[in-house]
């Protein structure tokens, strides 16, 4: 009796239509553990060897705070700039046809492929006070290479493709009849852009912004070459961590890494929530 009842409940229990849920979830978790979770957990384990006061002393060191300020500040600023100009580039590439469009479209991806050190060297060469562009800026007391501005420029460079590539497909899918409807209802071009297009593009721009921001937070190669790397001035967090490692201060390096990791995670989570909310509003949730 009990056996037949058990077999009955099993037959009635809802089965997923899509097969392989257990296998794919298991693989996903295993894969993420191997590549992300386990390596990152060592950071926490190593940092845990410090006492609370030691930990706090490293974190509240003016040099550390300056590095955090520069990294997060320059990354956020670069991501904002990328959000604006990435949208502009994506708009130009999808809305107009002109000779050389495909070439420009291809150029957008270059920052993805280029070794970041090469990018850093090129940028510092061009923007140095005697470089091609730097020589026109220097007389106006604008110095880009080997300053904080240089860090910002490098981060803009490496972040550009993210916004363009996330906004482009959404722009391509945008039906022109929505704009035509707005026009026949009496909206001006500016009103159509602000009230109809921008809200529709906003989630994609936000995704691009997030990706560019996250990428900038972790950037090392290009910044090292264009910044002066002087503590309290042009030093970014990854550089500070490298310095600590060079001095065999592994615990100190991981302490900074832990804070960097948590802060980045909190910020990205926040942006993701914002995105989920805006997507839901668009009826895409």
């Amino acid at each position: 009796m009990a056996v037949s009842l058990a077999s009955q409940t099993r037959a009635l229990s809802p089965r997923r239509i899509l097969p392989g849920f257990g296998l794919s979830l298991g693989y996903t978790v295993f894969y993420l553990c191997l590549l992300v979770l386990i390596p990152l957990s060592t950071v926490f384990i190593k940092a845990a060897t410090l006492s609370y006061t030691q930990f706090w002393a490293i974190i509240s060191d003016p040099r550390t705070i300056a590095a955090f300020k520069l990294t997060f500040g320059a990354s956020a600023l670069a991501a904002i700039v990328n959000a604006f100009f990435g949208l502009l580039v994506a708009w130009t590439l999808t809305r107009y046809t002109f000779p050389g469009r495909r070439i420009i479209d291809g150029l957008v991806d270059l920052p993805f492929a280029l070794p970041t050190a090469v990018a850093g060297i090129c940028l510092s060469a061009v923007y140095a006070d005697n470089g091609w562009i730097g020589r026109f800026l220097a007389p106006h007391h604008i110095h880009v290479a080997y300053t904080q501005t240089g860090v910002f420029v490098a981060l803009v460079f490496i972040g550009l493709p993210f916004v363009v590539r996330t906004v482009q497909p959404v722009l391509q899918d945008l039906e022109t009849d929505v704009e035509e409807a707005a026009a026949s209802l009496g909206a001006t071009r500016a009103q159509i852009f602000a009230r109809v297009l921008l809200p529709t593009l906003f989630p994609a721009v936000l995704t691009g912004f997030t990706l560019a921001f996250a990428r900038a937070l972790g950037e090392y190669g290009s910044v090292i070459f264009i910044s002066n790397n002087i503590p309290l001035q042009g030093e970014i967090v990854p550089k500070l961590i490298m310095d600590k490692l060079d001095q065999f201060d592994y615990a100190g390096a991981t302490a900074i890494a832990v804070v960097m990791l948590l802060a980045s995670f909190a910020l990205l989570l926040l942006i993701n929530l914002l995105q989920w909310w805006s997507r839901k509003r668009l009826g895409m949730g």
Partner: protein
């Protein structure tokens, strides 16, 4: 407001979408532009709306040249086939959009906008859905929101581009008669595009039949259906049987039988008979008839469709009988019968379909 279309042409590269089209839509009329895809009907509608510009010709609104005015200033309400609602706005915000984008001096107060939107929601029978997003509505509801949105700005002209094309058959039928009632209530000059002849004949005051960028015929639904100007119109407005005929002395000779025609010209021609104009007889009964064999009987619905093959040349034809007539005759597959045309249309111009 009346709309006058004067000699409008539109070329897309080599392709001529419209060729010298002229048409007058009277104030308060509901006109259907009917034609197959590629006949230029949507292009014409978009030119009236100012979403497209003609290569030649002009558009007059109430006798005034409107061609230089852009879509924004034409005061035209446009309803799109795929609704074109603003996805990120609620139903309320969608309808209020046209009022909110007005210059400050012309913009109604917040209370006025709200009152107007509520009034329109009632008109399109969507009260209570004001705070929904378009993605939460059915197709029929979305199209009604689109209509309310177009009406919110009090347009002088309402243009609808295949308004029910994306909806399923039942909703389409419902919205069709609803649109007719709405028009009788508002009396706003309206033009709608459709490729569905039933829709055009049922809803419109006048039907404009278009083909290959030109107007084939303009007239009331009865007029274009009963007196088609040419074989294209005849064919497009419903199914039709073709008979190769010879006209001689005012009579069309089809096989062994004859039928009187109005054209005097003696020539080989084609006679057109609508299925419901074909009667089936058990015996010859004296009059001119064709012998035929019953191939198939579709006895579903109020009318019965009978497929027949002519005995002399095997050509197929279709007759539509009332259910009473069908029961009276007690027809069966394979039976031999006589077919008689009550009304035969012959067009003098040579025309290929």
């Amino acid at each position: 407001m009346s709309i006058e279309i004067r000699g409008v042409s539109r070329n897309f590269g080599e392709f001529a979408a419209l060729k010298d089209v002229s048409l007058l839509v009277e104030t308060g009329e509901l006109v259907a532009l009917l034609g197959p895809s590629g006949s230029g009907k949507t292009t014409l509608l978009r030119i009236i709306a100012g979403l497209e510009y003609p290569t030649a010709g002009t558009i007059l609104f109430h006798g005034e040249d409107a061609i230089r005015r852009d879509a924004r200033s034409r005061q035209v309400g446009f309803v799109f086939q795929h609704y074109a609602l603003f996805r990120h706005m609620t139903v309320f915000e969608n309808i209020a959009f046209g009022l909110r984008v007005r210059p400050r001096a012309l913009r109604p107060t917040k209370a006025d906008i709200e009152a107007r939107v509520m009034e329109l929601l009632k008109l399109v029978q969507l009260e209570g859905l004001a705070q929904r997003f378009p993605s939460q509505l059915s197709g029929g509801q979305r199209q009604r929101v689109a209509l309310a949105r177009a009406l919110a700005v009090e347009p002088k002209v309402l243009l609808l581009d295949e308004p029910f094309g994306a909806l399923d058959a039942r909703v389409r039928q419902e919205l069709r008669s609803w649109l007719r009632r709405l028009h009788d209530e508002l009396h706003i000059t309206s033009v709608f595009v459709t490729h569905d002849q039933e829709e055009a004949l049922e809803v419109a005051d006048r039907v404009v039949v278009m083909n290959k960028g030109q107007i084939e015929q303009v007239g009331s639904p009865e007029d274009v259906y009963e007196n088609p100007a040419n074989p294209f119109v005849m064919n497009f407005l419903g199914s039709v049987n073709l008979f190769h005929a010879r006209v001689h002395d005012g009579e069309a000779h089809i096989g062994p039988s004859t039928a009187p025609v109005t054209t005097a010209q003696d020539a080989a021609t084609i006679g057109y008979v609508r299925p419901h104009e074909l009667d089936i007889l058990r015996s010859r009964n004296g009059g001119p008839t064709l012998e035929a064999v019953i191939k198939h009987i579709h006895a579903i619905g109020p009318t019965v469709r009978v497929e027949l093959a002519r005995r002399d040349n095997g050509e197929l034809m279709e007759a539509e009988l009332t259910r009473e007539r069908f029961t009276e005759l007690a027809l069966k597959n394979g039976e031999q019968v006589h077919v008689k045309a009550r009304k035969l249309q012959v067009f003098t111009e040579d025309y290929s379909i």
